[in-house]
């Protein structure tokens, strides 16, 4: 790819779009064609993010100058923070990422009654910490109602305030983070951020108070469970553009080709993504990443415009081979047979691409699972960008790390979505399809640009096993 070819492609695309007289809907999920292309090429590092933003700003202003929308002139001069990055991804920190550590807790804190007598519980999975941050991963739910009442279960998560007290007498007020919207779900996966962070040498914590002033004691000095087997091996370097297409394939598998994003089904959006990456020169049209995505499209019956239907009516499968994970999810994607339970495993992982990570337990449900991670030096920026659209200011995806998992029964799992953004660097990864009912361990696979980490975590369920 020659220097400037990505920007040239974007600018020529803008010319073609301008000739169509675009009507821009404004910021929000209803993105326009140029947003998709600019963020795709910025994510693939086929164009400098600042240049991508400049093309976008010029395009939007040019379009609105033709229909007299003055407001856009101010908006388009205000670049989002990602446009100032030297490359997609968080600004480089001032030093090596702090290594997070996690220890399992595996205890339940019953909560006192709240609204209309409804009482809940916090299932405490793990304590995850760095020298500067600390959090307890939590699964919480409403358990029952203390008095007879016809009021339905609250739609929100339990509000009861808890914190921690350490062996030196220091209090660490807790803030439950990411309780989600009031959607009446059965479980909320979140974390309890503790402030201040724990000092080195802290021997124990008491987390509470729960019902009747009860607390859960977390012994930090006690010998932990056997370490989780972790392996690191080098991998063939893959271009960022190829990794972006692989991520698109995973989103296609997780959400289906008809899921709408920005008013356009995911299948056609991915077809545009392939078009942008190949026509800009970021990827060759017959690159293996293109071919395997085309093969996936063929399997799903979606024309991705990348050769999957080149022989007419999809009569012949394209040449690309599906990765094992994709083939597995194609088979098991619709299953709803996951065990219901909480597994409080903990694993601190070696550095990968400058990131330090710790696994801090998971909650499994019939239709999927939530994996808790503490990350330092990495965040799942823009994950879900292809599915949810890219409103103005949202960053393009950072595909420097990709995550997959395989359970001991041989079923593969992909990341369907994430919650993240707290000060503690906690991430909740929602994986699909659910665990196999007979799975006893889960191998979490994190692929970087040059290496891969595999951590086989045990699925030792709290409270006597899965339900």
């Amino acid at each position: 790819m020659s220097a400037g070819s990505g920007e040239t492609y974007l600018r020529l695309l803008a010319e073609a779009e301008l000739r169509q007289g675009p009507v821009l809907a404004g910021p929000g999920p209803h993105i326009h064609r140029m947003w998709l292309a600019a963020t795709a090429l910025a994510a693939a590092r086929a164009v400098d993010p600042g240049a991508a933003w400049q093309v976008l700003a010029d395009f939007e202003m040019a379009a609105r100058l033709r229909n007299g929308d003055a407001r856009a002139i101010l908006r388009s001069a205000h670049p989002p923070h990602w446009a100032r990055w030297a490359r997609p991804g968080p600004p480089a920190a001032g030093g090596p990422a702090a290594a997070p550590a996690a220890i399992p807790i595996g205890a339940t804190l019953p909560l006192p009654p709240e609204r209309e007598g409804w009482y809940g519980e916090l299932q405490l999975l793990c304590l995850a910490r760095t020298s500067a941050q600390a959090a307890i991963t939590v699964a919480t739910r409403w358990v029952g109602q203390a008095r007879r009442s016809a009021t339905p279960r609250p739609q929100h998560a339990p509000f009861h305030q808890v914190g921690a007290l350490d062996d030196s007498g220091t209090s660490h007020p807790g803030a439950l983070w990411d309780m989600g919207i009031e959607d009446g779900r059965e479980w909320w996966d979140c974390h309890l951020g503790l402030t201040p962070a724990l000092l080195a040498g802290t021997r124990w914590l008491e987390v509470g108070p729960g019902v009747g002033g009860r607390c859960v004691r977390v012994d930090l000095a006690a010998p932990g469970p056997p370490p989780v087997p972790v392996s690191v091996r080098p991998t063939e370097p893959a271009s960022t553009a190829a990794r972006l297409l692989d991520r698109a394939g995973e989103e296609l598998l997780c959400h289906g080709p008809d899921s709408l994003a920005g008013g356009l089904p995911l299948g056609p959006r991915i077809a545009l993504l392939i078009q942008d990456l190949t026509r800009s020169g970021a990827l060759l049209a017959d690159h293996p990443a293109v071919r395997r995505l085309a093969a996936l499209g063929w399997r799903l019956g979606v024309d991705l415009g990348a050769g999957s239907y080149r022989d007419g009516a999809g009569s012949r499968a394209p040449a690309g081979r599906l990765p094992a994970a994709w083939a597995s999810v194609l088979i098991d994607g619709g299953t709803r047979d996951g065990p219901a339970g909480v597994a409080p495993f903990a694993a601190s992982l070696p550095e990968i691409d400058g990131a330090r990570l710790a696994l801090a337990g998971l909650r499994s449900a019939r239709d999927g699972m939530t994996l808790h991670v503490m990350a330092s030096g990495w965040a799942p920026l823009g994950l879900g960008w292809l599915v949810h659209g890219t409103p103005a200011g949202h960053e393009p995806p950072d595909v420097s790390l990709s995550w997959q998992a395989r359970d001991s029964a041989g079923r593969w799992h992909l990341v369907r979505g994430t919650n993240w953004g707290s000060r503690q660097g906690m991430i909740q990864m929602h994986l699909t399809p659910p665990l196999h009912p007979s799975a006893s361990s889960l191998e979490v696979i994190i692929s970087g640009t040059r290496s891969e980490i595999r951590a086989a975590v045990p699925l030792d369920w709290m409270d006597g096993g899965p339900r």
């Binding site: 400037g4 600018r11 301008l18 010029d58 100058l65 002139i73 101010l74």
Partner: protein
């Protein structure tokens, strides 16, 4: 010696509100003049020392500041059918917003529009207040403030009218067409994507009509060597390499296609007459034509040689 780049461009003239009157701004022979301000440079010096800046002088200053601004090509018109809906009301509204911000910051606009006069910083009408309230008013960095002020400046130049838009586009194209090494501060390699788009975006509608093809089938790149460049068919597509100066000498003059010829250069002349080189068809050698501007169009006045 070839003709100056503006040889075929129509002189432009407009009146703008300046102080308490209506003043004439004129563009001809490659330069903008504020006819009612014979010592515009002196007025600029006075303004820099804290005096008021007349609108005419501010516009002339903005013109100079944008004479090599590639945003002019990214935002400006592409074809006769491509009209910008930029009005002085819009410019005044933007200035009111930005003036409010600058005032709030206790700063002073770097780009020259914070000046006196009816078109400079007028009393804000109720309608303008409503418009302003609908605009995004978040706190911006000084850098973003300057970028917005620069855009407001550019819009004031577009508001001068179509002939001025074309003239400014021509000046920008010529600034990036200087033979030999580029001027200090101009990175030709970094500008190439913008110049490629500017060429393609302007050649496409003209050449599509010339050949009866879709505009999307027209591909142009900057020609940086000797000669006028090339234009050849590639199946259904047209592939052309033209110097960026084509935008100034030919496109800005409104004569990219004249009576079935793709005009590739202006040899000499003075508006409304010019001697040009034109292609009868892709791949052909250019021929010399005399063309004349009549009504709103150019026509071939004398045959090919």
């Amino acid at each position: 010696m070839s003709a100056p780049w503006w040889a075929a461009l129509r002189p432009a003239e407009t009146r703008i509100s300046c102080g308490t009157g209506q003043h004439v701004l004129r563009w001809a022979d490659g330069r903008l003049a504020a006819a009612d301000h014979p010592d515009a440079e002196g007025e600029l010096v006075l303004a820099a020392l804290g005096g008021d800046k007349a609108e005419c002088v501010a516009v002339a200053e903005a013109w100079g500041a944008h004479h090599d601004d590639l945003d002019v090509l990214a935002l400006g018109p592409r074809s006769p059918a491509d009209e910008l809906a930029v009005t002085w009301d819009m410019v005044r509204d933007l200035r009111s917003v930005l003036g409010h911000r600058m005032g709030r910051m206790g700063g002073r606009a770097a780009s020259g529009w914070m000046h006196s006069g009816a078109a400079g910083r007028p009393p804000v009408s109720r309608l303008a207040v409503q418009r302003i309230r609908s605009m995004p008013m978040r706190h911006l960095s000084p850098e973003a403030e300057r970028a917005q002020a620069r855009r407001a400046d550019l819009l004031s130049l577009f508001a001068l009218g179509r002939d001025f838009q074309l003239a400014l586009s021509g000046e920008v194209a010529m600034a990036w067409s200087a033979p030999g090494s580029p001027a200090p501060g101009r990175d030709l390699a970094a500008a190439r994507p913008a110049l490629t788009a500017a060429l393609t975006g302007r050649l496409a509608p003209a050449a599509a009509g010339w050949l009866g093809i879709e505009p999307g089938q027209v591909h142009a790149v900057p020609h940086e060597g000797a000669g006028w460049g090339r234009a050849e068919r590639d199946g259904a597509a047209l592939r052309a390499a033209l110097p960026a100066s084509w935008l100034a000498r030919v496109w800005a003059a409104g004569c990219p296609v004249v009576d079935g010829y793709l005009i590739v250069d202006v040899l000499d002349g003075a508006w409304p007459r010019a001697r040009v080189r034109g292609l009868r068809e892709p791949g052909a050698e250019p021929v010399v034509l005399s063309i004349r501007h009549e009504g709103e169009h150019w026509t071939v006045a004398a045959g090919a040689s």
